[in-house]
C-alpha cells in the first residue's frame, strides 16, 4: 500500500483483482472506479507510466503544479486529485473543452487555453515558485518549452518531462533525439533521472530535472 515513490493521495488498489494506480476524484474519461477511487491508466498517461515504473518525480502530494500540455485532462485530473493548486495549460480548443469539464468539479484545477511556447500569455495568472512543472507537449522544441517555463519553477522545484522522440524528428534515432533534447535542457536544468517509458509509451523518455 505505502510506496515510497508514490505521492500521498496516489495508491495501488485492486481493480478486477489486479493492483492499479488510483486517485480519489470524480471520473473523467470512463476509467474504472471503486468507490471514490478511480484507476490511473499508465498506458494513457506518461506521468502515470513514470509513477508505475518507480521514477522519483518529487511529487509528494499537496504541492503547487504547472501542467503543460494538459490535453483533455486525462492526466492533469489525476494530478489535481492529489496535488494542491494545479494550473493546466492546453493550446487546442477541442480537448480544452473536455479539460474544462474535468476542472469544473475540481476546485484547485485551473484550466487555461494558452500556448506553452509563450509563457508571458499566462504569467499574469500562473504564480511563481510552483513546486513541480509537468510537461507533456507533442511539438518540436520540447526543451525550448521547458526552458522558457523555468521562470515559474521554485529553485528547489522539479521538472517532470516526457520527451516524445517522434515529435522532434521521426527520421532520427530516438537516442540521438533524447541526447539533443537533454543537452538543450541542461542549459537551464540539472537532469536528475531519465527513464525510458517504452513499456507504456513507445519512443518516450521520462526526465526529472531541477533548475540550475
Amino acid at each position: 500500500m505505502s510506496d515510497p515513490t508514490l505521492p500521498t493521495g496516489v495508491e495501488r488498489r485492486p481493480f478486477d483483482g489486479a493492483p492499479r494506480l488510483a486517485t480519489r476524484g470524480p471520473p473523467v474519461y470512463g476509467e474504472p472506479t471503486d468507490g471514490e477511487w478511480r484507476a490511473w491508466d499508465p498506458t494513457r498517461s506518461k506521468l502515470g507510466g513514470m509513477l508505475e515504473l518507480g521514477v522519483e518525480t518529487g511529487l509528494t502530494g499537496g504541492e503547487t503544479v504547472l501542467y503543460l500540455g494538459a490535453a483533455a485532462g486525462t492526466t492533469v485530473s489525476h494530478v489535481a486529485d492529489f496535488a494542491g493548486p494545479t494550473y493546466a495549460v492546453e493550446f487546442a480548443p477541442r480537448p480544452a473543452r473536455e479539460l474544462v469539464a474535468a476542472a469544473e468539479p475540481r476546485e484547485r484545477l485551473f484550466p487555461l487555453l494558452k500556448d506553452a511556447r509563450r509563457p508571458t500569455t499566462y504569467a499574469h495568472v500562473v504564480e511563481s515558485n510552483v513546486d513541480v512543472v509537468i510537461q507533456d507537449v507533442a511539438t518540436r522544441g520540447q526543451a525550448t518549452v521547458a526552458n522558457r517555463n523555468a521562470a515559474f519553477l521554485a529553485d528547489d522545484g522539479r521538472l517532470v518531462l516526457a520527451i516524445k522522440a517522434r515529435s522532434e524528428d521521426v527520421t532520427a534515432d530516438p537516442e540521438t533525439v533524447y541526447a539533443d533534447v537533454l543537452a538543450e535542457l541542461e542549459t537551464t536544468y540539472e537532469v536528475l533521472e531519465t527513464t525510458p517509458l517504452d513499456r507504456f509509451h513507445a519512443d518516450h523518455l521520462g526526465v526529472v530535472a531541477t533548475p540550475r
Binding site: V100, A123, V125, N129
Partner: protein
C-alpha cells in the same frame, strides 16, 4: 531566490501592479463587485513579463480575504474564461476560414501588382527605390516634395497597408484553422489547410473527396489537359507548397504527394466527423515520409561513392 522573487518582495503592492507594465496580475484593479466577464477577459487577453506570487499579492492588495478565497475565485474565473475561449474558437467555422484565405490571396496579389506599378514609377523619380513590397514600404516613409512624388508615395503607402492586411489575415488563419480542422491544420499548416478547404468549398466536401482528388486540388488546368489527352497527369496541386513534397527530390515527389494527400484526406475526415486531434495519423505520415526520403539518401550514398558527391 531568483531575481523575480526579489522583485515580488520589494515592489510596493497596489500602485505598481495596476499599471500596465507587465507586472500586474489578472486581478489588478478588480474588486469583488466587478463584472466576472471582465476578469475572464483579463485571463484570456492579459499578459505579464514574469510570474509573481499572485495569491499573496491578491491578499495584500485586499482583492480577496485569503489564499483559499483567491483560489476559489481563480477557479471560477479560469473555467469561465477557458469555456468562453473554447466556444469562441469553435464558432469559427470552415466558411469563415474560406473567406479569410481568399481575402488573403486577393490582398497578396493586389499588393504585388501595385508594388510593381509603384516600382516602375518610382524608378524614374526616386533613384534609390527598390522593387517589390519591401521597396514600396521603404518608399512609403519618404517625404514627397511635389504633386507627382506625393502620388507615388501615397500609392506606396497603400501597398504597405494592403501587405499589412495580408499579414493580419494570415495571423487570423493561423489562429482559426486549428479550431476548425485540428488534424488538417497540424498536418498541412494553417494556410495550406485553409486553402484545401477553400478549393473543396468547405470542410465537409473536402472530407468527402478521395485522396487522389486532394492530391491535385489547385491543379485543375493540368488535370483537365491530362483528361483531354494533351498532358501527363499532374503529380500535385496546392499541396506542392508542403515541405514534404517540395523538400523531396523530384524523382520521389509523386510518391510523397500521394502519401501526403492520402493522410490529408484522412485528416479532413477525422476533423469533419470527429473533430478530435489524432496523433497516430501524424506519426503514420512522418514514418511514411521518412521511408520515401530514405530512398534518396540510399542512392545518394551510392552516388557519393561513385561520383564523389554529385547530387
Amino acid at each position: 531566490m531568483t531575481d523575480m522573487d526579489e522583485g515580488t518582495e520589494t515592489d510596493p503592492p497596489a500602485a505598481a501592479s495596476t499599471a500596465n507594465d507587465g507586472t500586474a496580475g489578472w486581478f489588478a484593479g478588480l474588486t469583488d463587485g466587478t463584472d466576472p466577464d471582465a476578469a475572464a477577459e483579463r485571463v484570456r487577453m492579459g499578459s505579464a513579463t514574469a510570474p509573481r506570487d499572485w495569491p499573496s499579492i491578491a491578499v495584500d492588495e485586499e482583492v480577496v480575504d485569503s489564499r483559499a478565497a483567491y483560489y476559489d475565485r481563480l477557479h471560477a474565473v479560469t473555467t469561465a474564461a477557458t469555456r468562453s475561449a473554447v466556444r469562441e474558437r469553435e464558432r469559427a467555422d470552415d466558411q469563415q476560414l474560406v473567406h479569410a484565405v481568399r481575402a488573403m490571396d486577393d490582398c497578396e496579389r493586389l499588393a504585388n501588382e501595385l508594388a510593381e506599378r509603384v516600382a516602375a514609377w518610382a524608378g524614374s523619380r526616386f533613384p534609390s527605390s527598390s522593387p517589390g513590397i519591401a521597396g514600396a514600404r521603404a518608399l512609403a516613409t519618404e517625404d514627397p516634395t511635389d504633386e507627382l512624388d506625393r502620388r507615388v508615395v501615397s500609392l506606396a503607402t497603400q501597398v504597405s497597408e494592403i501587405a499589412d492586411q495580408r499579414d493580419a489575415l494570415e495571423a487570423t488563419i493561423e489562429q482559426t484553422a486549428p479550431a476548425v480542422a485540428p488534424n488538417l491544420a497540424a498536418m498541412a499548416g494553417a494556410t495550406l489547410a485553409a486553402r484545401l478547404i477553400a478549393l473543396a468549398g468547405g470542410l465537409e466536401s473536402l472530407a468527402k473527396k478521395p485522396a487522389g482528388t486532394v492530391q491535385v486540388l489547385g491543379a485543375e488546368d493540368a488535370l483537365f489537359a491530362h483528361l483531354a489527352g494533351r498532358a501527363p497527369s499532374p503529380k500535385h496541386g496546392v499541396i506542392y507548397t508542403h515541405e514534404f513534397v517540395r523538400g523531396t527530390r523530384p524523382d520521389d515527389r509523386g510518391s510523397a504527394a500521394r502519401a501526403l494527400a492520402g493522410k490529408l484526406a484522412l485528416a479532413a475526415r477525422v476533423d469533419h466527423y470527429s473533430g478530435v486531434y489524432r496523433e497516430s495519423l501524424h506519426d503514420d505520415l512522418r514514418e511514411r515520409m521518412a521511408t520515401i526520403r530514405a530512398r534518396a539518401e540510399e542512392e545518394r550514398d551510392e552516388n557519393d561513392e561513385t561520383h564523389g558527391g554529385a547530387a
